[in-house]
């Protein structure tokens, strides 16, 4: 059975504390709820959630959408944003879990990656060093979301194309992002038999597409 692996990399650094992290939790729940109403997604999507602050946690290893249970997403009081380290962990997970075609195994669909951050990587050297590895993981699409005034769109675009930006960290905006992710994943799971990059649905007005 061909799976569509979907990876969410979520910033849980100290600055996300409070309303933003609540919005992320609600957003992830919404995302899962919406995908479960989509027959393509329900049959094919496997979801993984990796959070990063000072620590990188594989909160949900790659799991079938129908059996996935979303663990609590928490944030420390303060601390750096180790996005570089998160990418490193991501590459390890993808290489271990995503199946490529061979005589004996059935290849998965190209995995999709969504990265949401409200800052810029504290481990910038590791971040830049890991980007080529991420790009060799075979992702069908890497979408970035730079949320809030402190998020660096430029740095995030180094790994994620396209990158969208959210001007504020308000709950409504973050939820919009997750709704759009859900639509993108649905679209991704539909575009089968394709070698082309999955087409993204147009982002809602709150999400500014960075060209």
């Amino acid at each position: 059975m061909r799976r569509l692996p979907v990876y969410l990399l979520l910033d849980t650094s100290g600055s996300m504390r409070g309303e933003p992290i609540e919005a992320v939790r609600t957003g992830v729940d919404m995302l899962v709820g919406m995908l479960r109403q989509d027959p393509y997604a329900l049959e094919t999507v496997w979801l993984s959630i990796i959070t990063f602050d000072r620590e990188v946690k594989v909160l949900l290893p790659l799991t079938a959408l129908d059996t996935a249970q979303i663990p609590e997403i928490t944030t420390p009081e303060s601390g750096p944003t180790h996005l570089g380290d998160a990418l490193r962990v991501l590459c390890r997970e993808v290489r271990r879990d995503v199946a490529r075609n061979s005589g004996e195994t059935k290849g998965d669909w190209r995995p999709l990656l969504f990265i949401m951050t409200d800052g810029s990587p504290s481990d910038i050297a590791l971040y830049r060093e890991t980007i080529p590895e991420v790009h060799s993981c075979g992702f069908g699409m890497i979408v970035g979301c730079a949320a809030g005034p402190k998020a660096s769109v430029e740095i995030l675009s180094e790994v994620a194309q396209p990158t969208v930006r959210l001007d504020t960290l308000e709950a409504s905006g973050l939820k919009t992002f997750f709704t759009w992710v859900s639509a993108s994943v649905s679209r991704g799971s539909q575009s089968q038999g394709t070698t082309a990059t999955p087409e993204l649905p147009p982002p809602p007005p709150e999400l500014l597409m960075v060209v």
Binding site: Y40, Q69, S78, G79, R100, G103, D118, S122, S191, G193
Partner: protein
């Protein structure tokens, strides 16, 4: 519990300032400042270690359970209950057995939070039995017995001074279920409370019930998010709740929308055909995949066939299937044109000119297997001439359509699998093939040690990647030659041409296409069709079309299958 007043207040201020400074630096986005923020962190940790413990909300979690004070249960419950419209009616179609690994995931001991647990701290125990707004509800499930835990997978986390008034019931999440599939989950060690001392305030999802052994089992009927609250018999306060997600049956979510008939490249959502010659019977069917039906788009697959007249024992059977690329806008037209032109051109080359390949075939006096090897140079050259010419014409015809629209031929991308089959006057079968892309052309007989696979399916590293006939550089002889295969056999069970909508679910890996066991299973699977086809019974095409409606999770591509069965052959029924 250490009271805050026991610690110097000034240290707390230092901590707050440091945290504020660190956040400022960290979110500055400037490399150096961000690095300094990382150093500051070490300092913050050291200061923090001298501070009194921070009050955290009561949240304890592991993989399978969560104690949380979020999401009032009654909201979730009413959403599921009052909004039945969004929850599709489940279909009761041969549900696969679902056996949840309850032993692994559910048996947990909740942390020291009950009166039964002697280690509970005096502050935390009473506060976890709060007055719940819904306690006036009458219990809807009768008390039953909860089994004692057989294993414990959670290490108790000490509760840190929960704020007294706002505690909500403890939530335990059960494994997710699927509508119409059997479900079973042990409630586990519900606080080590005997089941007869528990009462449930909400019903279990329709189709599920609590057994005396303490597991929730049955076949859930309706998808939704369910909350089942419980309390102790005689207590008024709700003590906890079980959360349970029931997924919809994906079969109930698929829509079947008609395709747009006004589209210039519209074609029927399904197609079928059958026919016979003096020596063989052929049937083909092609259906739109669920993924296309769901959004009202078109069938991208196609097929074509030309059979000799019924009194001709040595005529050519010309067969092909094609799968238009899902990503290419006009691929349904690409597959259609390729099939039509291939058959037309092959007919011209093989049927309309009486000499040629047929005469050469008949002239070979050797036994079939012997000729297959001995005359390989001849067969390769001849096949190259016939099939190479035909595919060249087919590609040119597709390109012409693309040019007329002023678009790239990529918009017409399609795979192509062609077979020419003839019984020689020496009573051997000759099969020549050309195959580009995924899907398969294979031949099988139960008496064979291995199937004959006429090439390699071409797939990329990931699903959905393949090569397309329309992208082939046919001006290069080797490009064409490497796609050609042929065989000469005395007899066989059946020949199958299929698109990946069939080969993916029926031969899940490429290796399986080469395995005799996989072909034996496939034969068994379509045996009813083969048995009807051998004597050429009417409506075998409809029978094949019905068979192709098989359910296979995750495989919702267009499906096309073409079968040829020698008339003389008796298909074994294993």
């Amino acid at each position: 519990m250490v009271s805050e007043s026991e610690k110097p207040l000034s240290l707390e201020r230092v901590h707050q300032s440091l945290v504020a400074a660190q956040r400022e630096l960290e979110t500055s986005g400037q490399g150096e400042l961000v690095e300094i923020s990382a150093h500051l962190e070490v300092l913050i940790d050291r200061v923090k270690s001298h501070l009194p413990p921070v009050q955290e909300p009561v949240k304890i979690q592991n993989d399978s359970i969560t104690l949380t004070n979020e999401t009032p249960p009654e909201v979730v419950a009413s959403e599921a209950a009052t909004n039945p419209a969004v929850l599709p009616e489940p279909e009761l179609l041969l549900p696969p057995i679902y056996q949840s690994e309850v032993e692994e995931t559910i048996l947990v001991e909740l942390p020291a939070a009950t009166a039964d647990a002697p280690s509970a701290s005096p502050e935390s125990a009473p506060s976890l039995v709060p007055a719940h707004p819904e306690v006036t509800n009458e219990p809807e499930a009768s008390p039953a017995v909860v089994a004692a835990p057989t294993r414990q997978t959670v290490q108790p986390t000490p509760l840190k001074a929960p704020p007294p008034p706002m505690i909500k019931p403890k939530s335990m999440r059960l494994p997710n279920g699927n509508a119409t599939r059997a479900y079973s989950a042990a409630l586990g060690s519900v606080l080590k409370i005997p089941l007869e001392r528990l009462e449930f305030l909400d019903p279990w999802p329709a189709g599920l019930s609590l057994s005396e052994q303490g597991s929730v089992a049955g076949t859930p009927e309706v998808a939704g998010e369910y909350v089942v609250r419980w309390r102790r018999v005689g207590e008024s306060a709700v003590e906890g709740e079980f959360l349970l997600t029931i997924n919809a049956d994906p079969r109930s979510l698929w829509k079947d929308l008609p395709s747009d008939r006004s589209d210039p490249f519209w074609k029927e959502d399904s197609d079928k055909k059958q026919g016979g010659s003096a020596v063989a019977n052929v049937v083909a069917a092609s259906v739109r995949g669920r993924s296309h039906a769901h959004v009202g788009s078109f069938r991208d697959d196609d097929f074509g066939m030309h059979l000799p007249p019924e009194d001709d024992s040595n005529g050519w059977h010309l067969l092909c299937v094609a799968d238009g690329a899902g990503s290419a806008k006009s691929s349904r037209r690409g597959s259609q044109v390729a099939c039509n032109v291939i058959i037309e051109k092959l007919k011209e080359l093989l049927v309309d000119s009486p000499e040629g390949l047929a005469a050469e075939l008949d002239a070979r006096s050797r036994e079939a297997e012997e000729s297959e090897k001995a005359d390989s140079a001849f067969w390769t050259r001849t096949l190259y001439h016939v099939l190479g010419t035909a595919v060249g014409h087919a590609q040119a015809a597709v390109r012409k359509e693309a040019d007329a629209l002023g678009v790239s031929i990529k918009e017409f991308s399609t795979t192509l699998l062609v077979s020419i089959v003839r019984r020689t006057t020496k009573n051997a079968w000759f099969v020549g093939t050309y195959w580009v892309g995924d899907g398969a052309i294979g031949m099988w007989s139960p008496e064979w040690a291995a199937p004959k696979l006429f090439g390699e399916p071409e797939t990329g590293e990931y699903a959905g990647q393949t090569t397309f006939f329309t992208s082939e550089d046919l001006s290069r002889a080797e490009t064409v030659q490497k796609r050609l295969r042929y065989t000469l056999v005395q007899d066989f069970g059946f020949l199958a041409l299929m698109t990946d909508g069939i080969s993916d679910p029926k031969f899940p890996t490429e290796q399986m296409l080469k395995m005799p066991a996989a072909w034996a299973t496939f034969q068994e699977d379509i045996n009813a069709v083969l048995t009807a086809l051998a004597p050429g019974q009417p409506n075998t095409d409809q029978q094949l079309l019905d068979w192709m409606d098989f359910w296979s999770a995750g495989n919702h591509d267009d499906r096309t299958l073409l079968l040829l069965v020698p008339r003389a052959a008796e298909v074994e029924t294993n």
